[in-house]
Symmetry: C2
Subunit: 243 residues, 2 copies
């Protein structure tokens, strides 16, 4: 039944850490010992441990062992875990209690040809045709974010405004076009533009957070460029690095 051994081990150890079977600042049992406990090779155990480390739960030190890190209390509010994933993902998040309070307005939907300026922004090629979609994201009717997206038409075929109003990712799946492989994003804080002030409920804030995202298909093609501009005080983005 266990399809992937290492992810079973990962789950088990993660639970045990949360239940304090292994306590912060102590080390886990050695890799050899875990290997015999789960009846797998050391390599498989190592793989699970690596995943725990990239989650920020443990940290391995040569010659000492795998140390359980002290936990961090975090009582963030709206939009905690989400992030570079966009609203589509947010709404499908099972743990998300806010789904019903979220909605989307498609403000703009049009075809544009990529010129030099747009090439600089999107990294698409000059001459490409792209869909430009501007979507307003509402929470309890408040306009908290706006997505400015460009999609390469050559990869999407003929898409309609109605498709965009539902979910573009759903459209891609339903038509079996391709799979999403990866995304690269950068986060900044910027002055609010006139358009921001027009469409977003920024209150008396005069700047916005900006999340710029490039998305790849599984054939290596850059297919989407989205800049999400959002009202301060409502979003957060988490990260973990080990050295």
């Amino acid at each position: 039944m266990p399809k992937k051994l290492y992810s079973d081990i990962y789950d088990t150890l993660k639970q045990e850490i949360n239940k304090q079977v292994y306590q912060p600042r102590n080390t886990l049992p050695g890799e050899e010992e875990l290997a015999s406990r789960f009846d797998v090779t050391r390599n498989t155990v190592r793989r699970a441990l690596k995943e725990l480390q990239s989650d920020g739960l443990v940290y391995a030190v040569k010659g000492r062992g795998v140390v359980v890190l002290e936990p961090i209390r975090d009582d963030r509010v709206v939009f905690q875990a989400e992030n570079t994933e966009g609203f589509e993902a947010l709404r499908n998040f099972p743990q998300n209690k806010f789904i019903q309070r979220l909605s989307t307005d498609v403000l703009t939907f049009e075809e544009v040809e990529v010129d030099e300026e747009l090439e600089k922004l999107t990294s698409f090629n000059t001459g490409d045709v792209a869909y430009f979609v501007e979507r307003l994201r509402l929470f309890d009717g408040k306009a908290l974010a706006v997505d400015n997206s460009y999609f390469r038409k050559s990869l999407l075929g003929d898409m309609t405004r109605e498709d965009a109003e539902k979910s573009i990712y759903e459209y891609i799946r339903d038509n079996g076009l391709f799979k999403i492989a990866a995304e690269r994003s950068t986060t900044t804080v910027e002055s609010a533009t006139k358009r921001d002030l027009q469409v977003l409920d920024v209150g008396d804030m005069n700047c916005v957070g900006a999340l710029t995202k490039f998305v790849y298909t599984d054939t290596g093609r850059l297919f989407e460029h989205t800049q999400t501009r959002y009202v301060p005080n409502h979003f957060s983005m988490v990260d973990f690095k080990s050295f």
Copy 2:
């Protein structure tokens, strides 16, 4: 001479991708073929490929191959690559042309006892003694960021204001106290506080970017909590995810 085979392979392939020996949207040679080329096992090749993937250069698809992703043009300005690493790291960045234009002012240096409120913020334990350090980061004399840091005293021993004025990380290294293992950070956009307006050159902006960072020692102890508050339009943070 090659200490780590996989990182040699990683370097080689990375160069070849940049030189367009392997072009965007094409696949790399198969893992087996690369293994025989570099005269290593497939596992070792896979390790190098995994690293390339986490850099966002390639993406592996089962049954098809390892695809080279189309590159992204990016002409960001000040403080490009840096980020959750803090100013210490920024200044030691070899490629950084701005070093000489950067400086730090220690505004506050004091010992505090952790109470309940501070425990909520820092995840330190009530009753701990911590150093509170407020450092202003200047670029060409302009105050672009302020760091509010708490360090657990029990891990640092007797540190002076002078140590903080140089570099706390240097202090830790020189005294052989411990190694930095990992850090967890969250990024948000927040309203500017009175203090922000006092010390930062925000101009007419009324909000700031906030980067909250928890840092661990290699024995698993949470030892630093820093919130960097920075002026809009000068910073960016990059990220890459694959699915």
